[in-house]
């Protein structure tokens, strides 16, 4: 008998978006409430793993043609770049800066360079998790 994953795949298509939205929310709320780059990245990776469970490695690679090792490297660059940006202003390494800006829709918002650092963490976590899972999944 041929197995049929249609229920799993349909549910996955809906759920993955919800999980990714929630992970982004966790990521952006890290400064004032529990959350941040690590848990956000882990949850995004969780959504991608759900895709891998419902479909197979090849299909997911077609949907998202991403080399996760490069994602890790880009994440590291983000984090180091944010930290090393302090060198340009001759202040100690890792010194962050923030200010209030009036944005079109959001209104008065505080923007902090720590978010860029967190983006680095987020990308590294997604990259490393997905590299581990894909590498284990591929080798037989």
């Amino acid at each position: 008998m041929k197995t049929n994953d249609v229920i799993l795949q349909t549910v996955t298509k809906v759920t993955v978006f919800i999980i990714i939205l929630f992970s982004l929310r966790l990521f952006f709320s890290g400064h004032y409430t529990p959350g941040g780059g690590f848990i956000g990245g882990l949850m995004t990776a969780g959504a991608l793993v759900l895709l891998l469970l419902a479909f197979d490695l090849k299909t997911v690679a077609n949907i998202l043609p991403i080399d996760y090792k490069i994602v890790t490297a880009i994440g590291l660059l983000f984090a180091i770049g944010t930290a090393a940006g302090a060198l340009l202003f001759n202040v100690p390494f890792l010194t962050h800066a923030f200010d209030y800006f009036t944005l079109p829709i959001l209104g008065k918002t505080s923007l902090h360079t720590a978010v860029l650092f967190d983006t680095g963490v987020y990308l590294v976590v997604v990259g490393v998790t997905m590299t581990i899972i894909q590498t284990i999944g591929v080798s037989d």
Binding site: A73, I80, A86, N90, V91, P92, F93, L94, T95
Partner: protein, 493 residues
């Protein structure tokens, strides 16, 4: 430039990240790795000059003042170690070009070596005990990768042992830091030192001191905790072995020096005597191993254990002169161990065996290799005017003036055994009856020899220029004898 002391950590970190983008292009990898490591060496030279002119350099990361943020501290000891580490890594990277093989180079070899450099330089520079743990992990993670990279059977077997031992010791490190934090309530090393001095090191802190000795002893291979080292270091290929032998155990030794001179100096009758006894036993077991084997790798590996014992014995005496000797010997040992591992690596690739009884007569075909090895061997044993001499002499003078006769005698006797063990390699492997070898070509061997000869040359200059370098070592020892200098530099009262 206030960020000077982070450059030896930052440059390799950026390099490693950039190298991750094109792992398959071996030529680009080599060029970038070599150029940036030269950059690291230059940055650390500038750092040493700055520290010698302006005293201890500190940097409060993120502009948070001293006890509250992470502080990086570069005193003379750590600046010199950072410089030595960078030089050794540079030469090992150059040696790897023709030795490590394309397969390994295509699988992130150079990025991982850069990460190892980040970990070691960071561990030498940090002024925060938990940050020290993090840099230990950076260093260990990279060493896990390097030990299994290539995936031969022996590497995987020894890799498992190595990882197991280090995971346990890292867990113990965290537990020890947790105990320390619950007692003193701070993680900044200068602040810890001050807090311990204000309570006068009661029993609980002495217990924590012994826990630290166990943790760093596992990393640095002192007497009962050295058991993992001979097997694990035997597995990886030569350039990686040279990095491990020259750098990894020395980070453990540096951490013992730092904690025992900065934190736990109030009850030397117990802690330092224990350190002294363990150091002597370490020398003894190292000597037994160095005599017992006919395998070139094993002989040099057991010589690491002996050197760790000698350095720690100098520290345990708490004598200014002996400490200066220990610092001098520590740097000498890093240079000469890297040189020896690289040289026996050349011998192994020529002859295709690690058993010294199957080698012989290398001096006929490869005189340059033979004589360089002899100089390195004499330098290791401490024959004047080579670099091993002054360090041991100062340690001996210090221990005689503090009346530690047994230790001094053991160190003297160990020098003979060290000399015997390396001369054994010279007499049977390099002298002796010539044999037919079908290893690497002569030009290939000459390249490998040239990079290792640079290290031998450096160590010869290091020995000859001991007088000129003396002020640097006095400055380094000053901080170990009087921790108040360190505290004042960090907390800036």
């Amino acid at each position: 430039m206030i960020n000077l002391l982070i450059l030896p950590i930052l440059i390799p970190l950026i390099t490693a990240t950039i190298l991750m983008f094109f792992s398959k292009q071996v030529k680009t990898q080599r060029t970038i790795a070599a150029v940036s490591t030269i950059g690291t060496v230059i940055a650390s030279v500038i750092l040493v000059i700055t520290v010698s002119k302006e005293g201890i350099q500190t940097l409060n990361l993120g502009s948070w003042t001293a006890p509250f943020g992470i502080t990086l501290v570069s005193d003379m000891l750590s600046a010199l170690l950072v410089l030595t580490t960078s030089i050794i890594t540079l030469l090992v990277v150059l040696y790897s070009f023709k030795s490590i093989g394309r397969d390994r180079e295509r699988f992130y070899y150079y990025p991982v070596v850069q990460f190892l450099l980040v970990g070691v330089n960071g561990a030498f520079t940090t002024g925060d005990i938990f940050n020290l743990f993090v840099f230990f992990e950076v260093m260990l993670m990279s060493s896990y990768v390097l030990i299994v990279l290539g995936g031969t059977k022996v590497q995987l077997r020894e890799g498992i042992k190595y990882i197991l031992v280090n995971v346990i010791s890292s867990a113990l490190f965290v537990i020890t830091v947790a105990y320390l934090y619950s007692v003193v309530g701070t993680l900044n090393m200068a602040d810890i030192s001050q807090k311990i001095a204000s309570v006068g090191q009661p029993g609980i802190l002495t217990a924590i001191a012994i826990l630290f000795l166990i943790v760093f002893g596992l990393k640095g291979a002192i007497f009962p905790l050295y058991f993992w080292l001979p097997g694990s270091y035997y597995a990886p290929p030569t350039p990686i072995l040279a990095l491990f032998g020259a750098l990894l155990t020395k980070v453990g030794v540096y951490s013992i020096i730092r904690t025992y001179t900065l934190f736990f100096y109030h009850d030397p009758g117990f802690t330092h005597e224990m350190l002294g006894i363990l150091a002597i036993l370490t020398i003894v077991v190292g000597c037994v191993g160095a005599i017992g084997f006919w395998d070139v790798k094993k002989i040099i590996i057991y010589n690491i254990v002996i050197a760790v014992g000698v350095i720690l014995f100098g520290i345990s005496t708490m004598n200014g002169e002996a400490m200066e000797g220990s610092i001098y010997y520590l740097i000498h040992d890093m240079l000469i161990k890297a040189a020896l591992f690289l040289l026996i690596g050349v011998m192994i690739s020529i002859t295709g065996t690690t058993d010294v009884r199957k080698m012989g007569g290398l001096i006929k075909e490869y005189p340059w290799l033979g004589w360089t090895f002899l100089v390195a061997a004499f330098s290791l044993a401490g024959i004047p005017p080579l670099s091993g001499f002054i360090g041991k002499l100062l340690i001996l003078k210090g221990s005689f003036s503090s009346e530690f006769y047994v230790g001094a005698f053991v160190i003297l006797a160990s020098s003979l055994i060290v000399l015997y063990s390396v001369i054994k390699i010279f007499l049977t492997g390099i002298w002796g009856v010539p044999k037919e070898y079908k290893g690497i070509s002569k030009g290939h061997a000459r390249y490998l020899w040239a990079t290792s000869a640079v290290l031998v040359l450096l160590s010869v200059f290091y020995g000859l220029g001991a007088d000129a370098l003396r002020p640097l070592f006095s400055q380094a020892a000053e901080v170990l004898v009087d921790p108040q200098i360190y505290i004042d530099a960090v907390l800036k009262e």
